[in-house]
Amino acid sequence: MVTLEHYLILSGFMFVTGVVGVLTRRNAIVVFMSIELMLNSANLTFVAYSSFLGNVIGQLFVFFVMAVAAAEAAVGLAILIAIYRNKATLNIDEINILKW
């Protein structure tokens, strides 16, 4: 019998992996992929609660989150291309113009 807790623990594990990826990796594209991982773990929590409570709103929110993630990926990757054109690097330690 698979309970709600199983899904929540899996979701928590994926989220923590995404957090560690964002904090440790230096490649901007991999940092982006870790963010996608975190978005997906939030989606899993939404769907698990929606299914176990019999409420459709959680799945609607997952639909909206997916649309926002698609928009975010398109704009973010365009920004990365623009940065690479100007600085020829994707190492986030070297992209520090905005650093105070």
């Binding site: 698979v2 309970t3 709600l4 807790e5 199983h6 899904y7 929540l8 623990i9 899996l10 928590g12 594990f13 994926m14 923590v16 992996t17 957090v19 560690v20 990826g21 904090l23 440790t24 990796r25 230096r26 490649n27 594209i29 991999v30 992929m33 870790s34 996608e36 991982l37 997906n40 989606n43 899993l44 769907v47 698990a48 929606s50 299914s51 176990f52 019999g54 409420n55 459709v56 709103i57 799945q59 609607l60 997952v62 639909f63 997916m66 649309a67 926002v68 993630a69 698609a70 975010e72 398109a74 704009v75 990757l77 365009a78 990365l80 291309i81 623009a82 994707l90 190492n91 330690d93």
Partner: protein
Amino acid sequence: MSLETILFYFFASICAVTSVLVVVRREPVFSALFLVLNFASLAGIYVTLYAQFIAVVQVIVYAGAIMVLFLFVIMLLRPEKEKSIFSGNPTLQKLSIGVGVLVFFQLIYIIIAGTISSGKSVAAEQRIRTGEVEFIGRELITNYLLPFESIAFLLLAATIGALVISKKKFE
């Protein structure tokens, strides 16, 4: 052991292992391919939750569209191999991993100690009905029409923004 349990553990183990591999692998292309596998197994988990529509959208949008975009950008830019996976300040890296482990156990504690008893879950017929396309579509077109239309507008704005930002001459 029911089929549902077996499928859950099968997809959940793939999901957990590939999410670790995304973070650990040195080559960004391998990270992206493992992320595709992660999204596909997540779609399988959605099916075990009776969310058919979300599972199909996950495969089409995430594993299909978004990851193709990622792979295109990786192959376009060909980022150099990172000198080591955990380059930079080593104490900072260890600290962040420690924080991650701490947050994970905190989450597990909250989940297990919390009062979300799973015995309260609704009947199976209602759970199956919740994930149907007909049910979701009706809700989307009636009660959630304004968010639905704003999402369309947001996607248009993002498309135009991506085109403008990645233009060659940026003035």
